[in-house]
Each structure stands twice: as structure tokens, then as C-alpha cells.
């Protein structure tokens, strides 16, 4: 399988990465090189094989439903580019 220019633009949008028109042909070539490389997986017989979901056979651990951290709003917003009164600021979302 290979991707066309429209698909490259769609993937970039899904990944939320701005891509200029000039970058599309180059990206298309790189992505198709990767897709050509992984194409060989289609020759593997996977009939009846379970997909791997956990690399070590272990039961999913569950935590107690208790509050064990918190009250650290200063720490939470400390690295944010724009904040106000412990809130993260973003461009207007609802008109």
C-alpha cells in the first residue's frame, strides 16, 4: 500500500501537525519508503494467532480507589506557557 498527497495531508491533520504544501512530496516519499519496508509482514501466516497485548504475562494491576496525590496546583501549572489563577489559557474555543 502507498499513500498519495491527499492522504499525507489527512494524516498530518489527524496528527495535528501543520504541513506546508512544499513539504508534502518529501513526506509522501518517506512515508511510502516506510510502508514499502513493512509490506513484507503480509507474507506471514497469522491465521489463529492472538495479537500481543501484554509482553509479560501478568494480570492487570488495579489501584485502590483513593486519593493519594493532589493539592499541588502550583506544580501542575508551573511549566505551562500561559496560565491565569491556576488555569491553562487557550485561544477562545466557544464563540
Amino acid at each position: 500500500m502507498s499513500v498519495d498527497a491527499a492522504t499525507v495531508r489527512r494524516i498530518a491533520h489527524l496528527a495535528r501537525i501543520a504541513v506546508t504544501e512544499a513539504e508534502v512530496p518529501h513526506l509522501q516519499g518517506e512515508l511510502n519508503a516506510m510502508l514499502a519496508f513493512v509490506e513484507q509482514l503480509s507474507e506471514v501466516n497469522i491465521d489463529g494467532v492472538e495479537p500481543m497485548t501484554s509482553v509479560t504475562p501478568m494480570e492487570m494491576k488495579k489501584r485502590h480507589d483513593v486519593v493519594n496525590d493532589g493539592e499541588i496546583p502550583d506544580d501542575i501549572v508551573r511549566n505551562a506557557p500561559e496560565t491565569q489563577n491556576h488555569f491553562f489559557l487557550v485561544p477562545k474555543v466557544v464563540e
Binding site: 500500500m1 499513500v3 492522504t7 499525507v8 494524516i11 498530518a12 491533520h13 489527524l14 496528527a15 495535528r16 501537525i17 501543520a18 504541513v19 513526506l27 518517506e30 512515508l31 519508503a33 516506510m34 510502508l35 519496508f37 513493512v38 509490506e39 513484507q40 509482514l41 503480509s42 506471514v44 497469522i46 494467532v49 492472538e50 495479537p51 500481543m52 497485548t53 501484554s54 509482553v55 509479560t56 501478568m58 492487570m60 494491576k61 489501584r63 499541588i72 506544580d75 508551573r78 511549566n79 505551562a80 506557557p81 500561559e82 491553562f88 487557550v90 485561544p91 474555543v93
Partner: protein, 491 residues
């Protein structure tokens, strides 16, 4: 006091305990070495004040006989590990000047045991790369050069700063991480020892995530014994990482020097690649001969799905990366590039913040997880992964204790030499190491010889799940036979 930097951790431990020198002296010797080696670009942040403060504190403890297992040992930390109040960037522009208000579990255990932090080490951006050329801080220089040549060589990646710093005697050991070979390949390129533990052995908490089902932290050191010493402090159960395994941490150092007599060592025929350089072939046979001379039995084994590990990896790892890296949105931390809408803010921030390799992988990962392609790519790759793991299980079920392979298909290459036209060319570096991540197994890379140009080459040993001890025993046999290799100082 410059001699202090050439000690092993085991030797320094003795010198500190007998008070032949202090941790402050040892730390200062390393800080001076780091300063003199800035041209290697191994450190992206030096923390001399913190290092000296930690050294003084631990010296006081040593004097009272309260030093821990790593008391006073100066280490470098890969910039993928969150260090409290010390800038942590994963060598990506998108993390900018991120200063974590918390400490990763692995590094907190090193400090608990008395180690001293010298600074943060360069790596490929988000650990995506095999040459340390994708770092936003620029490439790391390998202290090794081809004989009679001044060509700048890469130290491998993604833990290139860790490998380069340990090889150049800038730190006694370093933390590293391995998702497809990022500890073992740079170790092989720099004549250092690199250990990728079993998945679940070391906590991933506080380590910047790349591909969560593959990532493992491990040490890079100058000897097998030193790597075992570091492993004991780095490993252990952590309730904050649900994939961390709740089993006891053995005394790895006790396994160093243990007899390997009677062990069955597998030689996988599928690793004998067409066009493999004769030097690698020779190194591999030599390694087998050393283990045989130590009393191990060599058995040819088959891992039939080996050739599919790398393509399956280049679906699974980017898929997980695209999901993990969704958090970099320009809102909560790191870089922010404004936009007219929130969508534009995300897109501009991520376009500006991610380098080319990261963008490529996030995009391929997004594609293989997208509607209509999930089954053909991601689901198929996860099934192939089951088959790769089964290959190893079948092998171990026949009584094989460990598997011996070359660590890399070549020695270190020049900066800018690979992957320019086709990214896959660079990916092939991990052909011998990536199977281990796909199966969640432990692996160790040990220096074993040099190529015709005088560059180091390494051997890899792959172990059963949670049996790192056998790897330390076998690794020691290789080290004793091959000797140790130090690059001549030119920087």
C-alpha cells in the same frame, strides 16, 4: 587527580570506602573531564553545583559508615529521565525548558543509594534514532575514530550521550533507555557495556514515553560488573508503573564471575545475514569459542520470524509513539506557537516543536492506527509480535540458557552518512537488537573486539525473562576473554 576518572565503579567504591579519596574529589575530576570534552556534545546540561552538593552530603554519610551501594559514584543521566528541578527535554524543542516538579523512579533509586548526578546526557529526540543525530542539541561525537582518520563518527543512538560519556571517562556510568536497541547499539559502537533489562524490571515512571510496550531503562557502564552494580539500584517494583513487575531484585553482582559450565547457548541461524561483514562473522565465532572454552555448550537454534521483527517494530513503535506524543499540545508545558484557533495552536506548536524523524514516526503511527488501516497494519504487527516471542519461548523450552548474536551489523559510521535519502537505511542498525524488545526479553551488549579500522564491535547475549543474572555471568566471560577497550584521547 585525573586518574580518578579511569577507575571502574567497583574500584571507586573501594577507594571511597577506604577513604583514599572523597566523592567530592571524584566528582570534581569528572566535572573537569566533562568541561574538557564539550566538543563531544555528550552532556546537554551540566549540573556541577548540584553534583558537588550531593558529593558533600554523601561524603559525610560515608564518614559515618552510612553510604549506600552507590555512595559517591558520579553518574550521567539520559535527558529522557525526569529530574526534579533540573531541566528535562528528551532533546526535543517541544519540551523547551521543561523543569519537572518530580523525579523518575529509576533516578530516585540511584540517589537513594548514594549516587551523584553530574548532568543530563544527549540522546536522539524522544529516543527516536540510532545515531544521536536527531537531537535538538545536535549530534554527539563518538570518542572513537577510525585509525589514521579524523572523520567524526556517531556514538549510535538513541542513548548516544550516555555511551559517549561513559567511553570518554566523563562519568562512571550512565542511565539509558532501550526501545529497539538504544542501549545496546551505542554500547557496541563505543566499547561500553549496555544492559536492556526484561520488560517490567525497571519502572518507566518519570521517563519520557516513546513506545510504552517496548521502553525499558538500563545502565551503560565500562565493565560487566559495573553494569550489574548499577542494575541492582535501577531495578525494582514500583506501584506507580502498572507494568512494573513485583518480584525481588537479585544481587546481580554476585552473578559476575559465576561459572557458565554446562549452560546451553543458542546460536540463531537467522542472524547470519546475507552480506554480513566478515569481521562481524569472525567476532561472533570468537565469542562462541570463548563461551565454549568456559564450559558452555553451543547449540544452533532457529528463530524463524527474526526478519519480521524490524518491520513489525516500525508499526508498533510509531503507533504507540503517535499516541504518547499526543500530549505535546502547547497548552500544559513546553513550546507554544500561537494560532488563531486552538486547532491551529496545536498544529503550529507540533510542526515547530517536533524534528523530522519524530514527525515522520508520529505520522506513520497515526496512519497505521487510522480507520480502515488498523487491521492491515497494527493488528497484523501485534500478531507477528506474538510469533516472534513464541520463537524465543520455543528455544528456551529446549533448555537454552541464553542466545549469542552480534550486537550490530556494523561498527560506528560517520555523521551524516546514513538515512539521508531513505529512513529505512538507518533503521537497519537495530536488526539484531529489536527482536529482544518485541519479545520483552533482557539483553546485554559487551565489547568483544575491533574491526580492521580499529573501531569497537560488540556481542549481544539474549536471556530468558527476568534472568539478567545469566547474562552478567556470560558477559563476564566475554569481557575476560576480549579485554577492555579505551579510546585514545584526542579531544
Amino acid at each position: 587527580m585525573t586518574d580518578l576518572t579511569s577507575l571502574t565503579i567497583a574500584e571507586a567504591r573501594e577507594g571511597l570506602a577506604s577513604q583514599s579519596f572523597t566523592s567530592l574529589e571524584l566528582t570534581d575530576a569528572h566535572l573537569a573531564a566533562i568541561e574538557a570534552a564539550r566538543s563531544l556534545n555528550a552532556f546537554v546540561l551540566e549540573t556541577p553545583d548540584q553534583a558537588r552538593a550531593m558529593a558533600r552530603t554523601v561524603d559525610a554519610k560515608i564518614a559515618k559508615g552510612e553510604g549506600g551501594p552507590l555512595a559517591g559514584i558520579p553518574l550521567g543521566i539520559k535527558d529522557l529521565f525526569a529530574t526534579k528541578d533540573v531541566r528535562t527535554t528528551a532533546c526535543s524543542k517541544i519540551l523547551g525548558n521543561f523543569v519537572p516538579p518530580y523525579e523518575s523512579t529509576v533516578t530516585s533509586q540511584l540517589w537513594r543509594d548514594g549516587a551523584v548526578m553530574l548532568g543530563k546526557l544527549n540522546n536522539d529526540e524522544f529516543a527516536m534514532g540510532s545515531s544521536n543525530e536527531t537531537s535538538c542539541f545536535g549530534p554527539v561525537v563518538n570518542p572513537w575514530r577510525r585509525e589514521g582518520s579524523n572523520t567524526t563518527l556517531v556514538p549510535g543512538g538513541s542513548s548516544g550521550g550516555s555511551a559517549s560519556a561513559v567511553a570518554a571517562l566523563l562519568c562512571m556510568g550512565a542511565t539509558a533507555t532501550d526501545t529497539g536497541g538504544s542501549i545496546r547499539q551505542p554500547a557496541a559502537f563505543t566499547a561500553t557495556v549496555g544492559v536492556k533489562p526484561t520488560y517490567g524490571r525497571c519502572s518507566r515512571w518519570g521517563i519520557v514515553a516513546f513506545a510504552s510496550s517496548l521502553d525499558q531503562a538500563g545502565p551503560i557502564a565500562r565493565t560487566v560488573r559495573d553494569s550489574a552494580i548499577l542494575m541492582r539500584s535501577m531495578a525494582g517494583h514500583d506501584p506507580k508503573d502498572t507494568t512494573s513487575v513485583d518480584i525481588g531484585v537479585p544481587d546481580y553482582e554476585a552473578a559476575v564471575g559465576k561459572s557458565v559450565k554446562g549452560m546451553k547457548i543458542g546460536i540463531p541461524k537467522e542472524y547470519r545475514l546475507d552480506g554480513m561483514p566478515a569481521e562481524i562473522e569472525k567476532l561472533w565465532s570468537e565469542g562462541a569459542a570463548w563461551l565454549k572454552a568456559a564450559g558452555a555448550e553451543l547449540v544452533e537454534v532457529s528463530l524463524p520470524h527474526t526478519k519480521y521483527a524490524l518491520p513489525a517494530y516500525y508499526i508498533v513503535a510509531p503507533a504507540e509513539a503517535s499516541s504518547n506524543l499526543a500530549r505535546y499540545d502547547g497548552v500544559r508545558y513546553g513550546l507554544r506557537v500561537p494560532g488563531r484557533s486552538i486547532g491551529e495552536l496545536y498544529e503550529n506548536t507540533r510542526a515547530e516543536g517536533f524534528g523530522d524523524e519524530v514527525r515522520r514516526r508520529v505520522m506513520i503511527g497515526t496512519y497505521v492506527l487510522s480507520a480502515g488501516y488498523y487491521d492491515a497494519y497494527y493488528l497484523r504487527a501485534q500478531k507477528v509480535r506474538t510469533l516472534i516471542k513464541k520463537d524465543f519461548e520455543d528455544c528456551f523450552a529446549k533448555g537454552i540458557s541464553a542466545i549469542l548474536t552480534p550486537a550490530t551489523p556494523s561498527a560506528a559510521f560517520g555523521v551524516g552518512e546514513k538515512g539521508g535519502a531513505d529512513p529505512v537505511e538507518m533503521y537497519l542498525n537495530d536488526i539484531f537488537t529489536v527482536t529482544v524488545n518485541m519479545a520483552g526479553l533482557p539483553g546485554i551488549a559487551v565489547p568483544a573486539g575491533k574491526d580492521a579500522q580499529g573501531l569497537p564491535l560488540g556481542l549481544q547475549l539474549i536471556g530468558r525473562p527476568f534472568d539478567e543474572e545469566t547474562l552478567f555471568s556470560l558477559g563476564e566471560v566475554v569481557e575476560q576473554a576480549a579485554g577492555r577497550f579505551t579510546p585514545p584521547r584526542w579531544w
